[in-house]
């Protein structure tokens, strides 16, 4: 008797589950509209009605980001202060989501977008991380008019524009610029071991070899997975040069080329000089090895300057630039500025479109960028910003930004769409298991064909 009733309940659960599952399907259908076949690279038609509210004076502006701490949050606050001064009648809603270096925020954003409830503007890494996800999904508006009206085509570096555009249309407004191809070194260590500052890739290897021969266990400091990919992309750039580098990401270059083999060989050589515990260190840990003199060199983006230079109370090292630490472009990449950037976008269907456009204008303005960047520890995307506001490193970066060739970073979302970038990270992970150069190159060729532009 008892047995029967249990069977009965189980049967009921299963039946109701089936019923519910079948009911659930139709209700899901209307939300994302037609199951769009891969939209490929077609720019989203701007005619999609951007549910505008009648020209709102008053009202709101909701800006979404993952800037909840440190210099980023302080920089955003500085921009909000300007906003409140300029548009006191439009309430600024700061919809920042904490956690996971943006992973949490992106998941929340994806949910909101699929529910048809986009924030009025959101922050993302400029380039393919935005384009490969949101532009191909038809979720962003092109910003051609805004760029023309504000003179941004002239005031941003010429080589930057194509990297943040799809089919000739820019899709985001960069508020800050970071540089990826920076080699940080400890001048005291180099002096102590009587090693010259490298001038090209070969002399860098010579310097590393000399340090190792003199008893320094790991002259090149390295950290966890993404910092390894970061090292790889700078070495790739140093080996093949900016034109071939851009071609590889555009799908017109050949990943099977001997120059790429050479780049992989070069990074393999570098990996023989790194600390054994690299896989478990954060980027700060790796930078600190250089500051402490346990290593001489570290390749890291220029946010490392904030860590070296920032005051000790803020958890930074409080070092003196050019004395305790110094920098140069990664040897072989002189004259090239490998950038990454946080930028803001205009979603299709923004509830407060007019306010969002005003926000983007502020993001691209001299006033906005010079408020944000000195606090965040980055430079402005504009070539005309006020140098006196920035520290020693940043001033040197601004000089380079104004004259260098600009190329994009892989590890920070500029050059490869999210699927492709994730796959390359996986391929790299396989490479560091056995350092099989040929297998890694084959994997890179396959990744570009499967997930990048090479298959098109």
């Amino acid at each position: 008797m008892k047995r029967k009733s249990i069977t009965f309940v189980i049967a009921l659960v299963l039946i109701s589950a089936l019923l519910l599952a079948s009911c659930a399907n139709p209700t899901e259908a209307p939300a994302p509209a037609e199951p769009e076949a891969p939209v490929a690279t077609e720019p989203p038609a701007a005619e999609e009605p951007a549910a505008e509210e009648p020209a709102a004076t008053g009202g709101q502006l909701e800006v979404f980001s993952w800037w909840t701490g440190g210099g980023e949050a302080a920089g955003l606050d500085a921009m909000i202060a300007i906003w409140n001064e300029k548009y006191p009648d439009i309430e600024f809603v700061n919809a920042a989501v904490a956690g996971g270096a943006g992973s949490n925020a992106k998941a929340v954003l994806a949910t909101r977008l699929s529910a048809g409830d986009p924030p009025d503007s959101w922050q993302g890494h400029a380039g393919q991380e935005l384009i490969g996800a949101y532009v191909v999904a038809g979720q962003l508006e092109p910003l051609d008019e805004l760029y023309a009206a504000n003179g941004w085509y002239e005031i941003f570096p010429e080589t930057l524009i194509p990297l943040i555009s799809q089919d000739g249309h820019p899709y985001s407004v960069p508020v800050n610029i970071h540089r990826a191809n920076v080699l940080w070194y400890n001048p005291k260590v180099l002096a102590e071991f009587n090693v010259a500052v490298p001038t090209d890739f070969a002399s860098w290897i010579t310097a590393l070899e000399a340090l190792k021969a003199a008893g320094m266990e790991s002259p090149l400091a390295l950290g966890e997975a993404w910092t390894e990919v970061h090292l790889f992309e700078t070495v790739l750039l140093a080996t093949v040069g900016p034109d071939a580098y851009n071609a590889l990401w555009a799908g017109t270059g050949d990943w099977a080329a001997p120059e790429v083999t050479q780049a992989i060989e070069n990074v393999k050589t570098l990996m023989t000089y790194v600390n054994t515990d690299y896989a478990t260190l954060s980027w700060q840990d790796a930078s600190k090895l250089v500051a402490d003199g346990d290593a001489a060199f570290n390749v890291m983006g220029d946010w490392a300057d904030g860590y070296f230079y920032g005051d000790v109370d803020g958890g930074n090292l409080g070092l003196t630039p050019l004395e305790d630490y110094a920098w140069m472009p990664v040897p072989g990449t002189q004259g090239v500025y490998q950038f990454l950037s946080d930028s803001f976008v205009l979603p299709v269907g923004a509830k407060n479109r007019d306010a969002a456009i005003k926000w983007l204008e502020l993001c691209g303005s001299k006033e906005g960028q010079d408020a944000f960047n000195p606090v965040k520890g980055s430079i402005a995307a504009r070539k005309d910003s006020d140098k006196s506001l920035y520290n020693v490193y940043l001033q040197s970066a601004m000089d380079d930004w104004a004259k260098d060739v600009v190329v994009g970073s892989l590890a920070h979302g500029v050059v490869a769409n999210p699927s492709w970038a994730t796959q390359i990270t996986t391929d790299w992970g396989a490479f560091v298991i056995n350092f099989d150069v040929a297998a890694f190159q084959e994997a890179l060729v396959a990744s570009c064909a499967a997930l990048g532009p090479c298959g098109e």
Partner: protein, 296 residues
């Protein structure tokens, strides 16, 4: 008549949870299954049916998934065996009626109250593989104690690094296994042991022929509980070793390929496979324990 009325009422009482479980568990399992058969990649849902393609791609020529499976097997084996052996051993010790038993019992169980994230961060420091002047954590301790042969590169060890990741997991859950065994030991009636002693059995024989067989259901329960936990391990991996391919687990793969790589179809296929692996472990157990309850 009365009986039927009561039953109807009872059914009404459980109906809300049946509906909730139906939607939030079974409904979403169905939903994920559907996504796993689709070509969905990118921000827009794309339900184009591609059959078992996502599954086949995982098993054929996908180096990362092969690493996942290898790592899961090694981790599960070391973790479950470690917990069972240490748990049983400490339960036997505590069962000897020593003074301050409750103190030690609590002490051994406490690690379970800590979240995996905290355990992971602490053990990340303890198992630091740096050498030379930067040596730290356990390696430094071994060095100072003159136990140099114990110094090793922990999770950075080639091939078997994942086995070291089981150490923090064992540390955290062997106390829980001990509690299960202790309850099992307490349930063995003293008369059985005494009867065996009267018959002239040695303590070792008693343990082998009486205690161990009677503990078998506990071992089975512990294996199932620990086994399904190890299949789903995620936070411990992330906190201890981060996202290294060589120490990858299916759950980390699923998370990265879905939310970083936007390959929803593949991510859903991995989650369904995880569900199947777990079900293979749990359903027979549920079936047997349910049948036992019914016959009792």
């Amino acid at each position: 008549m009365q009986d039927r009325k009561e039953k109807g009422f009872a059914f009404l009482m459980v109906l809300p949870s049946i509906i909730a479980v139906g939607i939030f568990v079974y409904g979403f399992i169905g939903w994920t299954t559907r996504v796993s058969f689709s070509a969905w990649r990118g921000m827009n849902p794309d339900y184009t049916f591609v059959g078992f393609k996502n599954y086949i791609d995982l098993f054929v020529n996908n180096l990362r998934f092969q690493i996942d499976i290898k790592n899961t097997l090694i981790f599960t084996l070391v973790f479950v065996l470690g917990c069972l052996i240490i748990g049983l051993f400490s339960a036997l010790l505590l069962d000897q009626g020593l003074k301050g038993e409750s103190f030690f019992r609590s002490l051994f169980i406490f690690p379970m109250a800590i979240s995996y994230i905290v355990t992971g961060v602490v053990w990340r420091w303890l198992m630091n593989p740096a050498s030379g002047s930067r040596m730290s954590g356990l390696n430094l301790l071994f060095d100072k104690l003159g136990l140099d042969f114990l110094i090793n590169s922990w999770t950075s060890t080639p091939t078997w690094g994942i086995a070291f990741l089981a150490i923090p997991a064992i540390w955290q859950l062997s106390g829980y296994t001990m509690a299960m065994y202790l309850a099992g030991l307490r349930a063995i009636p003293d008369e059985l042991r005494e009867a065996a002693r009267v018959d002239g059995a040695s303590e070792l024989n008693i343990f082998h022929y009486i205690v161990l067989p009677l503990l078998r259901p506990v071992t089975l329960s512990a294996m199932v509980i620990l086994g399904h936990m190890s299949l789903k391990t995620f936070d411990l991996v992330i906190a201890t070793v981060g996202k290294q391919l060589v120490l990858d687990m299916p759950s980390v793969h699923m998370w990265q390929i879905t939310f970083d790589g936007l390959q929803y179809g593949t991510g859903a296929a991995i989650s369904i496979l995880l569900l199947i692996f777990t079900a293979v472990l749990i359903i027979p157990y549920l079936f047997f324990s349910l049948r036992k309850e019914v016959t009792q």
